[in-house]
């Protein structure tokens, strides 16, 4: 058991932190990047690719760098700290995982090199107006059409959906709206006839899109995974998403906590720094505990996301999301409160951290959603349930 990074992982972490430190050194820099046509900087995105970040989760055979969950953790934590806008999560973590886990060799060979080079951007189009967080709740249909498919439906809040070249779309090739079977994943070019994309800004400074699909024709080679059996791939993607969001949230919370400590030590009221007040000290400690509990769960996520037992893995990642969500809420709210008025302003970086933390809570499942999931699984401690005190 150890929590240390290898020398290579340390080097990666230092490299990403340096890059993010210069690309996102101030809120003004971030605002300028957000104001660009894509909502992020293509230059910085190219730097991500140059550094090899976009190739991390892909094997060397696939043209990537063969990194694992710990490497992703190091990168996402740094991106969180910088509130980076580039579509790393959408392209590498979401779309990339779908292609990596479900794609045929031919599809992987067609798509992954572009992701690694920074020339292909993906988005995951799964949420629908009725689905909330249920990945299996799919009304969008894909009918067989010759040797391909004809897609009809609509997807909502697709993160970075307005700057992606290709969309990973969940569509029903069989079954009823809430069946677990009959879902297929299809890779759809963003400029395919029948695809309409309405992009808009998000609360956390990023971009998302409403996407409608009307009689969109794709070939058989667009299929990711088996026809009708796309849900297991999608659920794996969601697990990687949760692990990545956990790391991002820890990066944000650590930065926000540090900002808040600095503020308490410098802000003068009643003739001294407000850090002298015990009631504020104790709230700062509550933030610290929430941060450290979240950090522990981000490590747990990195360990469990590759765990072989699917049921245990799913319960573990749900547990991670519950803890991360709770910590996001507590750290975010306390940071604003301890900052007072300045924490309420658009000009203050801390407020933007708070907004991103809040949005992370509702990405890939809120607290009640995942709490229910862990409960249905019977919890995390299976052996303790099976064993009585008397036996071994």
């Amino acid at each position: 058991m150890d929590f240390d990074l290898s020398p290579e992982q340390t080097q990666l972490k230092d490299g990403v932190e340096r890059l993010i430190g210069s690309a996102y050194g101030s809120l003004e820099q971030r605002n300028a990047r957000a104001a660009g046509p894509l909502g992020f900087s293509e230059k910085v995105w190219a730097q991500f690719a140059e550094m090899g970040l976009t190739g991390i989760p892909f094997s060397e055979d696939e043209g990537g760098f063969g990194g694992g969950p710990v490497e992703t953790l190091a990168v996402m934590e740094a991106l969180g700290r910088g509130l980076a806008l580039e579509p790393y999560f959408a392209t590498v973590v979401l779309g990339g995982s779908a292609v990596r886990l479900g794609g045929t060799e031919a599809l992987k060979a067609r798509i992954i090199p572009g992701i690694v080079e920074g020339t292909t951007r993906l988005a995951l189009a799964v949420t629908e107006k009725q689905s909330r967080y249920d990945l299996f709740d799919v009304a969008t249909t894909a009918r067989s059409d010759g040797d391909g498919f004809l897609i009809d439906g609509a997807k909502s809040v697709v993160v970075n959906g307005d700057s992606a070249d290709r969309l990973v779309v969940s569509a029903r090739t069989d079954g009823a709206r809430r069946d677990r079977e009959g879902i297929s994943l299809l890779l759809v070019p963003a400029d395919a006839p029948g695809v309409t994309i309405h992009g808009y800004p998000t609360q956390d400074g990023g971009r998302a899109a409403e996407i409608s699909l009307a009689q969109v024709r794709v070939g058989a080679d667009a299929l990711i995974g088996q026809a009708g059996n796309g849900l297991p791939v999608l659920e794996r993607v969601a697990e990687f998403a949760i692990a990545a969001l956990a790391a991002e949230a820890v990066g944000i919370m650590a930065a926000l906590h540090q900002m808040t400590m600095d503020y308490l030590k410098t802000r003068q009221q009643f003739g001294g720094p407000i850090a002298q007040f015990q009631v504020l000290q104790h709230r700062a400690v509550d933030m610290f505990i929430a941060l450290e509990q979240a950090r522990s769960m981000a490590f747990y996520a990195a360990m469990m996301v590759e765990h072989a037992d699917a049921a245990e893995r799913a319960a573990a990642l749900s547990a991670v999301k519950v803890q991360i969500n709770r910590s996001c809420r507590l750290v975010g709210q306390e940071a604003v409160q301890l900052h007072g008025g300045i924490g309420m302003t658009m000009e203050y970086l801390g407020a933007h951290y708070f907004k991103r933390l809040t949005m992370i809570e509702s990405l890939f499942g809120d607290t009640p959603h995942h709490l229910r999931h862990v409960g249905d699984a019977g919890g995390l401690e299976k052996w303790a349930n099976r064993q009585s005190l008397q036996g071994q």
């Binding site: 610290f288 522990s296 409960g375």
Partner: protein, 399 residues
């Protein structure tokens, strides 16, 4: 980064797990699991079984019976002991006075006491808190005045846990009333049979006799019972309290109790089915289980950091373990109380005994409220959670 145990660590876990579950009597472990009181004999029996195997004081220096274990092995050992509901070796002996004597005591004190402390041949209790010195421990007033070869001790200690069984008490006493607070305090060992000592029980809210008041009226204590140097007692006390905090999260205990909550909830009728079938109840259980998992990893991080530093200095971050660990222990007793529901109303008829022959459908339920009441102490003792927050604010956050 690898959060799994090595094959050696797993083998060690299996070994201690097997030992605890086969060698420590099941009836003693059942009492611990149900949250009932142990008798003096229960403590002695259990600790002597551990000690015979070298398991009572593994964290002590090797020459006094300790084991050459890594911090990770020690962590595994304690967690397995709690998971098996084995009573921890008497804290006052093994985690408090023993390590202090081993680190700061005279050779004569070590030879006289350490082996007997480990085997519970001597039962020790703690004389720190006073009526006027709780969280502000350094304001203690019990005086020890030098008179030839003796100190004459006068004053009062309180919250003396299991003092009714004790052969010895280790005390913080004021030896220099002129010095400022912490500076004038000494650490002395007092034989409980010395004339002038009176022990008076305090019955805690759940009806048990667990703590006491101890009065000292011109008690003569030989000077060789001073530990270390005169007026340096505060340093030894800090060493002791830091030791105390390391294992205080009691994660294994909370896990064991949570498993019990689940088991009992699956057998407790509620509505059309069982209590476990109710989603909001399950959500409450899961909230606790998830935080417990996070704390377990936090604890592993603290342990791994100790291993990397190669020392056993407790991390200031271990205050987190005390705060969260105590909150979760309390949360599990609240859940148990909820499972017992209306049947929690029944008070235990015979404190400290199993009541299997009692004509009641839920023979465990009478201990649920007692355990809940009693566990309110865990956020108060060992430095209250508010004191722990003061420590983190200063030592970790620099506020």
């Amino acid at each position: 980064m690898d959060l799994r145990f090595t094959p050696e660590e797993t083998a060690f876990r299996d070994e201690v797990r097997g030992f605890f579950r086969t060698q420590v009597p099941a009836e003693i472990r059942a009492k611990v699991s149900e949250g009932r009181s142990l008798t003096r004999e229960d403590y002695v029996t259990s600790q002597r079984i551990l000690n015979a195997r070298g398991y009572a004081v593994p964290h002590w220096p090797k020459e006094w019976g300790g084991q050459d274990w890594t911090p990770i092995q020690r962590y595994i050992f304690t967690e397995e002991m709690l998971l098996a509901a084995v009573p921890l070796p008497l804290q006052f002996n093994c985690y408090m006075v023993g390590p202090v004597i081993a680190a700061f005591g005279s050779q004569a004190q070590k030879e006289k006491h350490l082996a007997r402390i480990a085997n519970l041949d001597e039962w020790w209790c703690q004389g720190f808190s006073e009526p006027g010195a709780g969280s502000d421990l350094a304001s203690l007033k019990t005086r020890a005045v030098r008179d030839g070869d003796h100190y004459i001790v006068n004053g009062q200690k309180t919250w003396t846990t299991l003092g009714q069984y004790a052969d010895w008490i280790f005390c913080l006493v004021r030896t220099d009333p002129a010095a400022k607070k912490q500076a004038g305090i000494s650490f002395i060992l007092i034989d409980m049979t010395t004339p002038g000592i009176t022990v008076r029980p305090i019955i805690t809210l759940e009806g048990r006799h667990e703590v006491n008041e101890v009065f000292f009226d011109n008690v003569k204590v030989p000077v060789e019972n001073l530990v270390g140097e005169e007026n340096k007692g505060w340093d030894y006390a800090k060493f002791l309290l830091a030791n105390e905090r390391t294992g205080i999260a009691r994660i294994g205990l909370s896990k064991e109790r949570l498993a019990r909550v689940k088991r009992l909830a699956k057998e407790m009728p509620a509505g059309e089915g069982m209590l476990w079938d109710e989603r909001d109840f399950r959500d409450r259980v899961m909230n606790v289980e998830i935080e417990l998992k996070a704390l377990e990893i936090t604890q592993m991080r603290v342990v791994a950091a100790q291993g990397r530093r190669g020392d056993n200095r407790p991390d200031p971050a271990s205050s987190i373990l005390k705060i969260k660990g105590s909150q979760l222990q309390q949360a599990t007793t609240e859940l148990l109380l909820e499972v017992a529901g209306p049947f929690a109303l029944a008070a235990p008829v015979r404190t400290g005994e199993l009541s299997n022959d009692w004509p009641f459908d839920y023979d465990w339920a009478d201990a649920a409220a007692a355990s809940y009441f009693n566990n309110r102490k865990v956020s108060i003792y060992g430095g209250s959670n508010e004191i722990q927050k003061n420590i983190i604010a200063k030592a970790v956050l620099g506020l």
